[in-house]
């Protein structure tokens, strides 16, 4: 499953979607908003997307992962909109019969998202004292 959402990402819901059946392990990457970037303080990040293309790219990544790790399953969710420090921006979660494929597929998913999915961030500094 892949999705772009304006709403907070529910990691537990994603895990429930992957657990069960032949899944023996789930590896999860969670990207969260950090309070600094390149030495500057950050209060919030606004994520924007070319939504239809981003969804198509995410579906393509999902297809690649299913071809490379056919016994597993993958979920990729990216949030857009204004997110504050600590909020979850992206989750890639890979379930597989054994941990090695889960780790590999999860890493592959987030690296591909960061390379090709048309989403951009704009950082906002904290208000001056």
């Amino acid at each position: 499953m892949v999705a772009i959402t304006q709403d907070p990402i529910d990691v537990a819901l994603i895990l429930r979607g992957l657990a069960g059946g032949r899944t023996g392990g789930i590896d999860v990457f969670i990207g969260v908003v950090r309070d600094t970037n390149e030495g500057k303080s950050v209060a919030a990040i606004e994520y924007t997307a070319y939504v239809p293309m981003a969804e198509e790219q995410m579906r393509r990544i999902e297809t690649e992962i299913r071809e490379r790790w056919p016994a597993g399953d993958i979920t990729i969710v990216h949030r857009i909109g204004l997110l504050r420090v600590g909020e979850i921006a992206v989750v890639t979660a890979a379930g597989a019969p054994h941990r090695a494929e889960a780790f590999e597929a999860c890493r592959y998913a987030i690296e591909r998202v960061k390379a090709d999915v048309p989403i951009w961030k704009k950082e906002f500094a904290p208000a001056p004292d």
């Binding site: 994520y47 070319y50 293309m53 992206v90 998202v113 951009w120």
Partner: protein, 87 residues
């Protein structure tokens, strides 16, 4: 044989490029040879600040990454995408 003098495409703008152009979408008239490069030149003629971005942009036509040499068809949805920064 009749040859159109230009082709109209819809250009969409995102991220920092959207801030340079000051709009999310424009109808753009592309002169021969109707390539992504020609579309970029047309756009940079109107928004000279875009030229500094040329080396880091990727072209998408109808939501697929393609080379700048790609020949455009009338009605294509194109976008010059700045480096993505999701995650």
């Amino acid at each position: 044989m009749w040859t159109p003098l230009m082709r109209c495409v819809t250009a969409l703008f995102f991220g920092p490029v959207r801030e340079v152009v000051g709009a999310g979408a424009l109808t753009l008239e592309v002169n021969p040879p109707f390539t992504g490069d020609a579309a970029f030149d047309a756009l940079a003629g109107r928004f000279p600040a875009l030229r500094a971005w040329r080396g880091s942009l990727r072209l998408a036509v109808n939501r697929e990454y393609v080379p700048f040499e790609r020949v455009l068809d009338a009605g294509d949805e194109i976008s010059f995408l700045p480096p993505v920064s999701g995650g």
